[in-house]
């Protein structure tokens, strides 16, 4: 905790990241109103015109004027993007053209009606998703929205006004907007405008809407809008406090856990949770505890929907499998450090006085946790579904089977009646109950318990064939028998359920394990595709198509298909796949992007980069929906991605190995050539000199001949060296031995190495004192300098001046060699750096023209550049630039004044 008033570093980091993300994004400004007719569009257009006057590039994406004159007047003069036409069920509908807007790239775009649902067939189902893309592209957006369109306020508004709005916007869009402008109009003025016909009302729903525009409604809506804006301003204030760290940063960790149970009202519970979490500024989780092995399909759907809604409202979601929901919830809350639990209020059950509500049970199990009960939505029209109707036919069958088993037990026992003791016949019935419990589950077990007791009484206890009992002690037998049957039945059914769950889990784990094993063994894309196919068809009844990247990290269009696949591969929509790849987000079926697509597209995000896209075509779309299935698929996709990446690195490693082998082959070849060429030259030089040492001493002529022999051999050696250098530089990637070097030292040794050829010239070196160290291969750069100096000596008359200078220029260090010779012919500044090129074609100066080509290769290998120019005052200048880099520091010596001032 931050007790010293300084901002928490984690929070600061989060804020920095947030700001970085924001900087690149466009800004969203929302004009927010209590209801239609308050003048949001008018206000937005006014603001846009002011921007236009300031010189901003403003474009209208979508604006509904509803034929109002004042509004239309504001539009004139603003550029309007044409809408695109989408064919829909025989007619053609007009819709906002996202691609055109992204291509146009204005600075600011106006998008009326944030909550609008796009025509089916558009890229996104909702307009706010289009806006999301626009913002991501760095385009500023102005938009409008009414209070009843906010997701979490939706049911509140429907409660107040009695009108449910189906077009909603997630609250986070509203909360994350950069600015919100409240467009406010007192209800009386609004009603006045309505009377004057200034508020647009669609014809068909006029009456309903008239009903909506009651003063009471309008006041309530206005209050909601004002409060929501106030909440936002409060958030901004908090953000401001955080930024400036006016006071100690708040650390509200009142995290919420919303417990989604079966039955109606889950949606309302989730919305309440979201609202509460928003107010508390706390993270929240939504979980469902899966207890019954067979939930009816409708129930499952509703829970999946509730979990999806929670996820879209910003919750962490989870499905827990446990026998006792209370312990599961409490454990989860403790684990995740959630201090408040939200549960739906149970219906009072006067006929079961011993029944304790969920809240009570949680309270007893964990007295330290807050439990908040939320009223169930009695009005939930959407929720009222066939779920409360009769059990599914499968269930009836189970009960029938239970009855049949009891009948069989009776049949078996009848011939034995009188032969064996009645207690043993009771045992037979208990066995029947046990079998029912094992085979058919809890409900049938309870039913058969009663049935067994009844049959026992009716058929076997005297008087037989009557429920009457002659001996009162049998009542005791019945009671014990019933309770034993109930308890054993319950226990057996529970263990059966546990075993089922375990089997299911094991199957899932095994499938994942097998898939991981297949993937780890895969060496080819085809094998990965096979593993995908196998896993997806077993686990999700789906087909897969794998799209991978090519060497340049572009998504390849053709899918990698498994060998021997049954049936044709699913048809992949390239556009959707590319979108998923580019954005690194899932697209297609059951996602926010193009949910109309029949395939689900998952990006293969590996640790290094996105490696491709996995397209999944399920036969039953339901099987890939829901957070749990998606989580499993995401896990699967990341496993595939890792396998693909591993495959990529295997390839890289192989090609590197190959490169290294050819490199070492090349090096040994060059070394052999170099040895074979140099050895005879060394011998020649040595022996030529040895002539002078022979006895009797050679004559002057002989000595001169020997001297010439030696000089020519040395010259030959220089040429061989240059040819070998060139061969080495050309033979492959140059291996630089880069070290931080002072240039001065290299210049010094180059001057010394070229002392002989430069003997006839005057040479000066001017290097600034503060020249930084540069990271270079000293041997090679010395060679560059030597070649440039030798060149200067060779092509300029004796007695002229040659100079070396260096200077820092921006992020580079320039080194140049000037001479005072004739310069070179115009237009050949580039050509002289080619191999076997010389400045003047006809020349008596010896040389093959490799020196400058070598210089260029060496400088280029250092990431630098070299060029030549004629100097203004005559002569040539050769300049090479090397990157400056970040030199290491040398630990400064602490100079201790020694005795007497000298060390």
């Amino acid at each position: 905790m931050t007790s010293d008033g300084r901002p928490d570093p984690d929070q600061l980091l989060a804020r920095v990241q947030e700001e970085e993300a924001k900087a690149a994004r466009g800004k969203l400004k929302i004009f927010f109103g209590a209801s239609a007719g308050v003048g949001k569009t008018y206000a937005m257009l006014g603001a846009a015109r002011r921007q236009k006057e300031l010189g901003t590039d403003v474009v209208i994406g979508v604006v509904e004027t509803h034929g109002r004159k004042e509004t239309e007047a504001l539009i004139t003069g603003l550029e309007r993007l044409p809408l695109c036409e989408i064919p829909y069920r025989g007619s053609v509908l007009k819709e906002f053209d996202l691609d055109a807007a992204l291509a146009r790239r204005p600075a600011l775009i106006l998008m009326d009606e944030l909550a609008h649902s796009n025509v089916a067939g558009s890229r996104h189902p909702k307009r706010w998703q289009d806006i999301h893309d626009l913002l991501a592209a760095g385009i500023d957006v102005y938009s409008t929205v009414n209070v009843q369109h906010l997701e979490t306020l939706n049911d509140v508004v429907s409660g107040i006004a009695g009108i449910r709005v189906w077009e909603t916007v997630p609250d986070r869009i509203f909360d994350e907007a950069d600015e919100v402008v409240l467009v406010d109009l007192p209800p009386d003025d609004l009603l006045q405008r309505l009377k004057e016909g200034k508020v647009y009302l669609p014809q068909q729903a006029e009456r309903a809407i008239r009903n909506f525009f009651r003063k009471g409604n309008l006041i309530a809506l206005r209050e909601l809008a004002l409060r929501r804006t106030a909440d936002r301003v409060d958030d901004e204030m908090l953000a401001y406090r955080r930024e400036t760290s006016v006071a100690t940063v708040w650390q509200t960790r009142d995290a919420l856990l919303v417990c989604i149970g079966s039955g109606t009202g889950a949606e309302r519970l989730v919305r309440t949770g979201a609202r509460l979490a928003g107010r508390l500024e706390a993270p929240w989780h939504a979980v469902h505890v899966h207890t019954h092995s067979s939930e009816p399909e409708v129930e499952r759907q509703r829970i999946v929907h509730a979990l999806e809604l929670s996820a879209s409202l910003g919750a962490e979601t989870a499905t827990l499998v446990a026998d006792d929901p209370v312990t599961a919830l409490v454990d989860y809350a403790r684990e995740q450090n959630l201090s408040r639990l939200l549960v739906g209020r149970d219906h009072p059950r006067p006929w079961r006085p011993w029944y304790r509500s969920m809240a009570d049970r949680i309270g007893q199990a964990a007295p330290d946790l807050d439990v908040i009960q939320v009223a169930r939505n009695e009005d939930a029209r959407a929720a009222r579904s066939p779920s409360t109707a009769a059990p599914a036919p499968g269930n009836w069958l189970a009960y029938l089977k239970a009855a049949a088993i009891c009948a069989v037990a009776t049949g078996l026992a009848t011939p034995l009646a009188g032969v064996i003791e009645l207690t043993n016949i009771a045992m037979l019935f208990l066995l029947a109950v046990l079998i029912v419990a094992m085979r058919l589950g809890r409900g049938p077990a309870v039913a058969s318990s009663f049935l067994a007791v009844a049959a026992f009484d009716f058929f076997f206890v005297a008087p037989r064939f009557s429920f009457a009992v002659s001996d009162a002690q049998y009542l005791m037998t019945f009671a014990v028998m019933l309770s034993v049957a109930l308890i054993t039945g319950q226990l057996t059914a529970r263990y059966k359920q546990h075993a089922d769950v375990a089997t299911q889990r094991e199957a899932r784990a095994r499938a994942l394990y097998e898939m991981a094993r297949d993937l780890s063994a895969a060496l080819l894309p085809m094998q990965i595709a096979e593993a995908c196919d196998r896993f997806l068809s077993v686990e999700f009844g789906a087909q897969a198509a794998l799209l991978l990247t090519d060497a340049g990290d572009h998504l390849q269009v053709e899918t990698v298909s498994a060998k021997g696949r049954s049936g044709s591969p699913p048809i992949v929509d390239e556009g959707v796949a590319r979108w998923a790849f580019d954005h690194g987000e899932a697209a297609g079926l059951s996602t926010d992007t193009l949910p109309g697509s029949p395939l689900l597209y998952l990006p293969l995000k590996a640790p290094m980069r996105t490696r491709g896209v996995l397209a999944i075509a399920p036969r039953d779309p339901l099987r890939v929906q829901g957070p749990e299935a998606r989580r499993q698929l995401d896990t699967f996709a990341s496993l595939v991605a890792i396998a693909v990446e591993r495959m990529h690195y295997v390839e890289v490693a192989q090609s590197t190995l190959l490169q290294m082998e050819s490199e070492s082959l090349r090096n040994s070849l060059l070394a052999a050539i170099s040895h074979d060429l140099r050895t005879p030259l060394s011998v020649l030089v040595g022996l030529a000199e040895s002539i002078r040492l022979t006895q009797p001493p050679p004559t002057d002529d002989q000595a001169r001949l020997a001297g010439t022999l030696k000089e020519e051999a040395l010259r030959m050696s220089v040429k061989v060296n240059k040819l070998l250098d060139m061969a080495r530089l050309q033979a492959g990637k140059i291996q630089l031995n880069r070290q931080w070097q002072p240039l001065e030292e290299i210049v010094g040794s180059a001057l010394m190495a070229t002392a002989a050829p430069l003997a006839a010239h005057s040479v000066s070196a001017v290097l600034p004192d503060d020249l930084p160290l540069i990271e270079i291969d000293a041997v090679l750069i010395e060679r560059v300098l030597c070649n440039l100096l030798e060149n200067a000596a060779k092509f300029t008359p004796a007695g002229t001046h040659i100079s070396i200078s260096a200077a820092v220029r921006g992020s580079e260090v320039d080194v140049w060699v000037d001479d005072s010779g004739p310069g070179f012919p115009k237009g050949r500044e580039e050509a002289i750096f080619e191999k076997f090129e010389r400045g003047a074609r006809e020349s008596a100066t010896p040389g093959v023209g490799l020196g400058l080509a070598i210089c260029r290769a060496i400088v280029a290998a250092h990431g630098g550049s070299i060029h030549a120019e004629n100097r203004a005052g005559g002569g040539a200048r050769f300049v090479f630039s090397l990157p400056r880099g970040m030199p290491p520091t040398t630990a400064e010596e602490i100079v201790v004044p020694a005795d007497g001032g000298t060390p």
């Binding site: 022996l687 030696k710 030292e745 040794s749 000298t902």
Partner: protein, 230 residues
């Protein structure tokens, strides 16, 4: 003979090169023993008790560096290495393992003889060990730890002084960056070779007349430094 004969072992596999080296050395009155392989060389060096070894690095039966390591376990005699150009790493390895100087092929006999003489001179001088070193206009008093240029005291930092005195103690030898770092900065700094270069620059500015054209502290590019006392 009043003076004992100077004995030199030449280890070189090329017949002709060996022949002219022998010719050149014998013309100076040295006694020369030849070896054409590493094994042979070690035997010669062990039995002839030479004053100096001339060693080719590219021998057919082994690495010259191993030869030097072997030799250094029992002898301190100077070793001059012969090597091809553009094999700086081999030279550095040979010098680090104990060689004293190197020559790049092709080389002239004059060069070879100069190096041989310098090594022999260093060896004989090492015994006398004077506390005064003079080069150019610089005079270093190794006892009082003072440095003067033309009689005027100049100020060196402790590291500069240590560097200079180490160079003076090893004249005519090629000292690798590693050797200098180890002996001047200490064994923990052997990888920071830019330290040597930077301090060498400081030192040159103080003791050389023209630091871009040094006369005493010479750079052997890619290998190290050589101090010429005379």
């Amino acid at each position: 003979m009043t003076e004992p004969l100077v004995t030199i072992v030449v280890v070189e596999d090329e017949n002709n090169i060996r022949r002219f080296i022998k010719l050149a050395l014998e013309s100076q009155g040295f006694q020369v023993f030849e070896a054409d392989s590493l094994q042979r060389g070690l035997i010669e060096a062990g039995t002839r008790r030479p004053d100096l070894v001339v060693l080719d690095l590219g021998l057919p039966d082994g690495d010259g560096v191993d030869f030097i390591r072997d030799l250094r376990t029992w002898s301190e005699i100077p070793v001059i290495v012969l090597s091809a150009r553009s094999a700086e790493t081999d030279k550095v390895a040979a010098l680090d393992s104990g060689a004293d100087d190197y020559l790049t092929k092709p080389f002239g006999t004059a060069e070879l003889l100069a190096r041989v003489r310098a090594q022999l001179r260093r060896r004989s001088r090492g015994a006398t060990g004077t506390p005064l070193a003079e080069f150019g206009s610089i005079r270093v008093d190794l006892v009082r730890r003072t440095v003067e240029r033309n009689g005027v005291p100049i100020h060196l930092t402790p590291i500069e002084y240590r560097l200079l005195s180490y160079l003076i103690g090893n004249p005519d030898c090629v000292l690798t960056h590693r050797q200098l770092l180890k002996n001047v900065w200490g064994p923990s700094h052997v990888e920071d070779s830019h330290y040597v270069r930077v301090y060498m620059g400081y030192l040159r500015k103080k003791v050389e007349e023209d630091p871009t054209r040094p006369k005493h502290i010479l750079t052997e590019v890619g290998v190290g430094y050589r101090f010429i006392g005379a």
